[in-house]
């Protein structure tokens, strides 16, 4: 069964304390992996798309990496404004025209000043 698992469920960091969020997947085939950020009461905000193992993308304090089994979202020197839920989603390669996305449950990140 296609599955996306995010860990930890919740993470509390001190401002400046770097860490990583994990998104592991067991799917029949991957066409793309998406990272989103979601603030309370808002829709998910797109961060990155990764397509193949070894790929890396960066945006400000965030860096996303991809292997054949998992993706990491590294947060360097986080600030309180980075507090949010981070969602991972995998687009299946056998989805054809269905573009089926499998979503993780998210990691709730809190950064204390």
């Amino acid at each position: 069964e296609d599955q996306v698992t995010q860990s930890p469920e919740a993470l509390r960091l001190q401002e400046g304390e770097s860490s990583s969020l994990n998104c592991s997947y067991t799917v029949s085939g991957l066409r793309g992996l998406f990272w989103y950020r979601q603030d309370p009461g808002k829709g998910p905000e797109f961060l990155f798309t990764l397509y193949s193992a070894g790929e890396e993308k960066e945006k400000e304090r965030l860096k996303a990496t991809l292997t054949k089994k998992e993706s990491f979202l590294h947060i360097t020197a986080p600030k309180p404004e980075d507090s949010a839920t981070y969602l991972c989603a995998v687009l299946l390669s056998n989805a054809g025209n269905n573009r089926k996305l499998i979503w993780g449950l998210g990691t709730s990140l809190a950064v204390n000043p």
Partner: protein
């Protein structure tokens, strides 16, 4: 550039009443999605449109839910009659994806539905 616009932001209705949500996608985006999100969960796809055609509605509870996307732009999602378990956030998203391609989706703010 305007993002995905949804209305209303909040809706409280009594069970068995009808309710409708409206979505205006990003201009030019051919793909439109309706998702349902419960607290602490990831989004769950209800229906996906490519232009005006519903290409994936396998998760849409068709006995009470309906959707339309006339002219391939705006879309409405309707629930009739609503049940207590329908309380959730309903998200609309759009993307510009070439046939068979991969493209990120952009989400609206969502409509928080409370059924009492």
């Amino acid at each position: 550039e305007a993002g995905v616009v949804q209305s209303p932001r909040y809706k409280i209705i009594e069970k068995k009443q009808p309710v409708a949500f409206w979505c205006n996608p990003i201009s030019g985006h051919n793909t439109l999605y309706w998702y349902l999100q419960n607290l602490g969960q990831g989004p769950e796809l209800l229906i996906r449109y490519e232009n005006e055609e519903a290409v994936d509605d396998s998760q849409l509870p068709k006995d009470r839910f309906s959707a339309e996307r006339l002219k391939g732009v705006d879309s409405t999602l309707k629930i009739q009659p609503a049940e207590l378990g329908d309380s959730a956030v309903y998200l609309c998203a759009s993307s510009l994806a070439p046939q068979g391609g991969v493209a990120e989706a952009f989400f609206g703010q969502g409509t928080r539905l409370t059924v009492v």
